[in-house]
Chain length 507, copies 2
């Protein structure tokens, strides 16, 4: 009997929820032109974390937009260190609600090299295309008021998917409930960070300073792409991240490659040897102890991974390569720490190439971490490896004395970093968030133990003792971090519905 009553209650709850979500969808449909116009206005403001003036313009824009979308107590949260990108905060208190969710996204973006974007595109001049440019998309006018637009269209701009789309989807998720007079089931807090792409160096300061303001039951993070299969996913963890920049030195001035070639040491060759010493031909890192700290996956994580649809063959075809770096399924390799060469530079190639022995060669290295790794310890392993290859390691440009004393010199700059984080797949409130996502599509989302990408979630755990989970919305082929970043409109509209549904948290 109790089961029958439960089933009847569930039916009405799902039916009621479906009615509410229809209203949310209708809100998006009726306000397409206004929402996209605001989104475009937002994307026009450059958002590199080091660009103080424009970062503050972004923050001011978000404040205004939140206030016009009925969010209360909107304010900037600043770190103790002065002149750092502020967090934009706001909240909605729901009478009778006993739980609180903080919604997180970030408004800063990765550095841009605008010369690399497709002809006619500029990172901070958002443009609408009928499809991805690779699939033959052509430029569209922004929709006039009341006109609907094909959800296959994409917006191209830095931040279009990573992560201004998150900011826009969360705010509009709430707004779509508000205008339909639907009351959220939880208290809501909004937290939009401004230096995620620079390593979130002041996040910990801010979380500590505003600890009581930020009290909550769970953080829901909007960042990253949905699964490559197109399925929605709820992600229970992220890899950590840190960087090193390695500079190997040649002669003090660029030398004629004829008059000195064979005799003067070439920094490009030395750097190549150093880099190639870091991985074996099976794609595994050969640096001593690199995988030592890794905490193995739990049985429930292993089971969850086995349920993730394989996209390996699809992705290899789409990305144009035959063999993966590590011969293992994509999802397994994301549960290992990684070492990736983000960039290399020594003198010039192509038309600017000259017959020189360059003075230096530089490599930018990205280290992703899994639970168990410590970012400083992981950096140290790489630095010890460089030393083991016969290099004298310094943090500064070598002096004449150092040049005279050491055969091989490598200057290493450490960046900040943060560790990986994972929330248990059995976390109760996280399971309810997953259910809310399911209600927007009708199918179970993928429950992903960890995202390959990184977010400073371990800082939330450390300072606030909370368990964040991630609900990504962007299309997987969004070119985030690179040239031609874009968001597919369908993903954006779905994202608004998902966040509205989470705010209506089911039991």
């Amino acid at each position: 009997m109790r089961t029958i009553i439960s089933l009847i209650l569930l039916f009405f709850s799902v039916f009621g929820r479906s009615q509410e979500l229809n209203k949310v969808r209708l809100y998006c449909q009726s306000n397409q032109s206004e929402i996209l116009q605001s989104f475009s206005e937002f994307l026009e403001i450059p958002n590199i974390a080091s660009d103080n003036i424009n970062i503050n313009r972004n923050a001011a824009w978000i404040v205004k937009y939140m206030e016009s979308n009925h969010i209360k107590n909107v304010q900037l949260l600043t770190s103790i260190t002065p002149n750092q990108p502020p967090v934009v905060y706001g909240e909605v208190s729901v009478p009778g609600a006993v739980q609180t969710i903080v919604f997180y996204a970030h408004y800063d973006g990765q550095p841009v090299d605008s010369t690399k974007w497709f002809k006619g595109l500029h990172p901070f001049t958002p443009k609408l295309f009928s499809n991805s440019i690779e699939n033959g998309g052509v430029q569209q006018n922004w929709p006039s008021k009341g006109l609907s637009i094909d959800p296959e269209c994409r917006i191209y701009a830095r931040g279009a998917s990573d992560d201004k789309a998150g900011v826009m989807a969360i705010i509009n998720g709430y707004s779509s409930l508000f205008v339909n007079s639907i009351l959220p089931k939880v208290n809501i807090k909004f937290f939009f960070e401004g230096e995620e792409e620079r390593g979130s160096g002041h996040l910990e300061e801010i979380l500590s300073k505003y600890k009581s303001l930020l009290k909550s039951d769970i953080w829901v993070i909007c960042d990253g792409p949905v699964h490559q299969s197109g399925k929605k996913q709820v992600v229970f963890g992220v890899r950590g991240d840190t960087h090193l920049e390695l500079t190997v030195f040649g002669p003090k001035r660029p030398l004629h490659s004829g008059h000195y070639g064979n005799w003067a040491p070439n920094p490009g060759m030395e750097l190549s040897k150093l880099i190639s010493s870091m991985k074996n031909d099976s794609g595994y890192v050969t640096i001593k102890g690199f995988y030592d700290d890794v905490i193995p996956l739990t049985p429930s994580e292993i089971k969850a991974l086995s349920l993730v649809p394989s996209v390996d063959e699809q992705m290899k075809k789409e990305l144009g390569f035959k063999k993966s770096e590590i011969l293992s399924p994509l999802n397994n390799t994301l549960n290992l720490p990684s070492l990736n060469i983000n960039g290399i530079e020594s003198a010039s190639v192509g038309k600017l190439s000259a017959n020189v022995i360059p003075t230096k060669a530089v490599a930018s290295i990205d280290l992703r971490l899994v639970v168990g790794n410590d970012w400083k310890r992981q950096q140290n392993k790489v630095i010890e490896h460089v030393k083991s290859q016969g290099f004298y390691v310094t943090e500064n440009i070598p002096t004449d004395e150092e040049r005279a004393r050491y055969e091989k010199i490598c200057m290493i700059s450490r960046s900040d970093g943060y560790n990986a984080q994972k929330t248990s797949l059995d976390n109760l409130i996280a399971k309810r968030v997953a259910k809310a996502v399911q209600l927007t599509t009708g199918e179970s989302p993928i429950l992903m133990p960890t995202l390959g990408g990184s977010l400073p979630l371990y800082v939330f755990e450390k300072v606030l003792n909370t368990n964040p989970i991630t609900v990504p919305i962007a299309n997987h082929d969004n070119n985030q971090h690179a040239e031609n970043e874009n968001i597919k409109l369908k993903n954006f509209w779905d994202g608004i519905a998902m966040f509205a549904s989470i705010m209506m948290l089911p039991k």
Copy 2:
């Protein structure tokens, strides 16, 4: 008795020569401001070989300057291929002279990246400094008429040493004889090339077309630096030169290094492994057969090399490194073929670095050749090596089919090139040129079997069946091919005297 008469004759000849050379020196001293003003005017004309308009402006300037310096039959020699940089030609016939020397220099320069020049310098705005900038030199005014200027001063500009200094020194060498009514002992031809730094792709066409006009007994080439010891040198050979550009491919679009790091192949890592497979830790090239074609040095070349003063320790100190690439004296290593990494590029480093797996990595490779090497065969050895490392080699951007079929793909672009050349140290007229150089300084010049740098001299040998030798004038620390190129005035004035002395060829 015969010996005594010879000695008396020799005394008068040397004494007479010394009188004449004094007049040449005096000419330079009295006309410093006018000569430097013309030099500066010449350096202001940009001289990148691909810049047709300015190359023609350079050629027109030289024509005018030669004519105003009493040189006859001045004309442009053009290749059959249209719109290529012309050679500027002129001549002086000497009544009774039975031998002819062609003097060669080139007026084009290496590509420039003006952002890399010292602050306040621009490659085509020549400036005078009291010394090298590294040694604390400060900017000077150009000298007024009649005022002398410290010979330690340097002119900074692209082409200042390589090789507009050669053009200026040769023309003024003749002019200094003419105004002093000193008759040269040989017929003189002037040959100023305009595409040497681009690989002299049309030199062979021009030499063939004007074969009879260019008939001579020897070519004297003015290019490259004097010996690092500061001693003058006469060089009997040059290395050959050619290039390859290697592009290794990663995913078709730049990928987020978190979401794909460990799984998507990284072209920077693959290129590093490829490059590092090309040399062992002793600096020798490991490519199969790389040294096979080398024709060993002759006993007289080995002897000549043993007489060259060692500058190895001095140069290591000056250039700031402890250990040479190949553990052998500089002059020995220049008698081997070389493989030098001129530049590497994959995505970005420093402030522009982003968290991506790049789509490609590019290396620009310079191959220097010695006698016995053939430039196309040497390129082929490198290409075979790339294949032996598991790469599929193509000349074009890989198609989707190729990407699906091959695990590792390398696109290789070949540039043009030319072989090495050597003239015998026992060549009689070359010995007389060396003697002429000796007369300007009083000390024997270094007789260098080969220059580390390259000039297309084998083309002269091939087409005209002539033996060129090289008489460099530039200071060794002239930054040729790079930013902050410069010529020390002392070297320039000495150069004028040397060419005047060679035109007065002693017996």
